[in-house]
Amino acid sequence: MKLILHIWRQKNQASPGKMVRYEVEANEHMSFLEMLDVLNENLIAKGEEPVAFDHDCREGICGSCGFMINGVAHGPLPNTTVCQLHMRHFKSGDELYLEPWRAAAFPVIKDLVVDRSAFDRIIAAGGYISVATGSAPDGNAIPVRKQDADLAMDAAQCIGCGACVAACPNASASLFMAAKITHLGLLPQGQPERKERVLKMVAAANRELFGSCTNIGECEAVCPKGIRMEFIGRMNRDYLNASFTYQEEKEMAGVG
């Protein structure tokens, strides 16, 4: 099959970029990234720079890959990262526009590669349970309702690829944050820090210049792991609850 690709080419963060047209011969058994590998081999043979794109595991779990295909994050197949998208879903003659995630918080590094370290900083702000190594009680000491554990797992599946931000017209990171807040907030182990967590993570996302949620649902439609918008509601509830009830730690000078 022959494809016409329009790919965003940008040398580095400082230079301007533009869409460049390529043609490539592919076959239907290839994955989308393997099709780009073929294009890159062709470019190298001509002495041109290959198209840079992030990828690593190529089995849909590391969250490295992702770009827009014809205006849809990770392309047309639901619940699928671009590395797991196969060419049998396209047909010869298709014209495809490949663009990097666009957000102020995700500056373009080169071609289709963006900097998603803002996500790391959101997690660093509070997306964890503080437990020093070695201080944990027996794994079965605290039973967890199976339904809660299952729902926590649904949320915990987030791979941090950034598709939700890319698809959101406001470049909001709500789905990403909500997934972590829901995951930890559903478990008994996550309760002690539940309020600080949501307050700090939301504040961090705002510092990183992610936009606001307008509840329109583009994020959940492109999420390769099927993270649901209902979790954003949970995050909002946790946030409002924490905002009205959270008390700063009192100064404990002289104690101990």
Binding site: C57, H86, D120, V131, G134, Q157, I159, L187
Partner: protein, 637 residues
């Protein structure tokens, strides 16, 4: 050189406790005076960096990915073993120890493996406390599943994404330390050399993958947790970026490389479908719990699987190994698949595949249960192949998955270079010649959470570390060598892409140093690899500059190291005149085609010492002594 494994004396149950008591400690106020480098942020590196940060050390952590959360531990599917015996089915620390030693075909250290089994129970506790959403029973307690090579249910899991959940737990702990200022994180930064000063590991040279800047980082100790080298085969279940450069650079600086030929072939991967294929996708071993593996009885039977009647199917694992059946260890299952395909009974277009059939399990347990257990794996299979495994059996074939070999380390996880510690898959320590399923996650976390925090302190407390800075000649030399290497790769400007060389190298290693090896093939491969490496340095084309994001350049450096490593793997395989675990030498097999060990001559760790460019490496042997487990011919019948 004598290899001192520093195994503590005393009964095996007490060795680790005794060792911990005898280790010197670093006073909490002094910890902040020490600087530690951790390379790699998977389960081993991430847990080490987080734990050391918590203890108060100044940690710098490095990964080549854009975030520490992307390390390839994330792709582990099936689970993590622990001797909790929650199922009351006869498990114990001793049994996990025994299973692991036996599964490794008696080529691992008893003391290390026993410690691993001991620590396994703490790992589960730690991860539960971090919020890892392990699967649970309706009563709220942790669920278990069984796995290859064991007759008890001791594997903890989080759907088919156990590695992901464990890694995220450890990544979150790491990010907490980043926020607290205890860990400085360097993503998109690749280690390209080790700095050794006065015989001690004192730092690393890195390349910033975005700007291309070459930098040195100095420290009091260096921890490598950079994973395995399965990508030497080009096609493997490893992530595309997984590479051996960090451990290979350490090897060239004097660390010994142990058992490089011990590589694991995973029996359940999606078969190769074409020349453009860039990687292989694993289907979790847990599928073998409920799936039955078969091929047609008749050669060249091209009927669709559903039309082949029961009596014309050969459930060969159940036939050959009635007591373990479909749950034999990975090496055994892989070789059996190869054997039936060699007989011409393989399935699929290429004839390189066997069926993994769930129709019995769906009949017995219902589709819903199967969906709950393996739903995401089935979806993944369908996405890749376009076939629905609920309706038609999966096709699977073995693929390179894990490397048991790695840098040699002693009981303290320190390599032969003082101050250089190696954790996780990057070291050789615990799995012998074959790793059992669900044990890699266990080892990575044991090393990072529970071993290195103790043994590192002992090294620091016992060692006089002189002050060093960037102006030291060893630092300048290492930086210069790195720069020269990069310039060399960029200046060749030949005709072939890096990938085309990597593909060719991979095929050579797979054909001659893969599932089955023989002396003639290994010798041939060594010659061929040398020729290919020669061509690489004359004809590779690395487009672009060194001072920007350049993925071709990254790959070229890694492939250059793979050439050298592949040579050493073949040499090691040739030297080991026996079959054991994943190392199957065709000359050494039982009449039934099982691996035939030679305990008289090869009950040792083969550790190779680098002697310089163009020189043959020198073999050192660490004898393995088995005081608790009797060496037997492994039998899963």
């Amino acid at each position: 050189m004598t290899l001192d494994s520093r195994i503590p004396s005393g009964p095996i149950e007490q060795k680790w406790d005794r060792c911990k008591f005898e280790l010197k400690l670093v006073n909490p106020a002094n910890k902040r005076k020490f600087h530690i480098i951790v390379v790699g942020t998977g389960l081993a590196g991430g847990s080490a960096a987080a734990s050391l940060g918590e203890l108060g050390y100044n940690v710098k952590a490095f990964c080549f990915q854009d975030s520490p959360r992307r390390a390839h531990s994330i792709a582990a599917q099936g689970g993590i073993n622990a001797a909790k015996n929650y199922q009351n089915d006869g498990d114990s620390i001793y049994r996990l120890f025994y299973d692991t030693i036996k599964g490794g075909d008696f080529r691992a250290r008893e003391a290390n493996v026993y410690r691993l089994a001991q620590i396994s129970v703490n790992i589960i506790d730690q991860c539960v406390a971090q919020g890892v959403p392990f699967a649970r029973e309706y009563g709220g307690l942790l669920a278990n599943r069984s796995f290859g090579g064991a007759q008890v249910s001791r594997t903890f899991y989080a759907r088919g994404q156990t590695g992901q959940q464990l890694l995220l737990g450890c990544y979150q702990a790491l990010e907490r330390q980043v926020d607290a200022g205890r860990v400085l994180m360097f993503p998109r930064t690749e280690m390209l050399d080790l700095i050794v000063i006065n015989g001690k590991a004192r730092g690393i040279v890195t390349r910033n993958l975005i700007t291309g800047k070459i930098e040195s980082h100095l420290a009091d100790a260096v921890i490598l947790a950079t994973g395995g080298y399965g990508n030497v085969y080009y096609l493997s279940t490893n992530a595309k970026g997984s590479n051996a450069t960090a451990i290979w650079r350490a090897y060239k600086r004097g660390a010994l490389m142990a058992n490089p030929c011990f590589t694991q072939i995973h029996p359940t991967c999606i078969p190769v479908s074409g020349d453009y294929q860039s990687k292989l996708t694993l289907m979790s071993e847990s599928l073998r719990n409920d799936g039955r593996i078969w091929v047609p009885l008749k050669k060249g039977d091209k009927r669709p699987p559903t039309e082949i009647p029961e009596e014309e199917r050969d459930y060969y694992l159940e036939r050959k190994y009635p007591s373990f059946g479909n749950l034999v260890p990975r090496d055994v299952a892989s070789r059996a698949a190869k054997a039936v395909c060699d007989e011409g009974r393989g399935v699929g277009e290429t004839g390189l595949g066997v069926y993994l059939d769930f129709s019995d399990a769906i009949r017995r347990l219902g589709r819903k249960t199967i969906e709950e257990r393996y739903g995401n794996l089935f979806e993944m299979y369908e996405r890749i192949t376009g076939e629905d495994p609920y309706k038609t059996p999966m096709r699977i074939f073995p693929a390179i998955h894990y490397t048991m070999g790695g840098l040699w380390v002693d009981y303290h996880l320190m390599s032969t270079i003082p101050g250089l510690f190696v954790l996780g898959e990057a070291n050789f320590s615990d799995h012998g010649a074959n790793r059992l399923g669900a044990s890699a996650l266990m080892q990575g976390l044991a090393d990072g959470y529970f071993i290195i925090p103790y043994t590192l302190g002992d090294y620091l407390a016992n060692t006089k570390l002189e002050k060093v800075d960037d102006s030291h000649s060893a630092v300048k030399d290492a930086e210069r060598e790195v720069t020269v290497r990069i310039q060399k790769l960029l200046s060749i400007k030949g005709k072939r892409s890096v990938d085309s060389f990597h593909r060719e190298l991979g095929k050579l290693v797979w054909d001659y140093c893969g599932m089955a090896r023989n002396a003639k093939g290994l010798q041939y491969a060594m010659g061929k690899i040398a020729e290919l490496a020669e061509e690489f340095y004359h004809n590779v084309n690395v487009v672009g500059d060194g001072n920007e994001l350049n993925q071709s350049l990254e790959k070229a450096g890694r492939v250059a190291d793979f050439f050298e490593l592949a040579q050493l793997m073949c040499r090691d395989a040739l030297e080991r005149n026996e079959s054991c675990g994943g190392h199957f030498r065709e000359e050494f097999q039982t009449p039934e085609g099982e691996a035939l060990r030679d305990d008289e001559n090869y009950c040792h760790v083969a550790a190779w010492e680098y002697k310089g460019e163009g020189q043959s490496p020198v073999l050192h042997k660490e004898p393995l002594r088995f005081e608790y487990v009797h060496l037997t011919q492994r039998s899963y019948k």
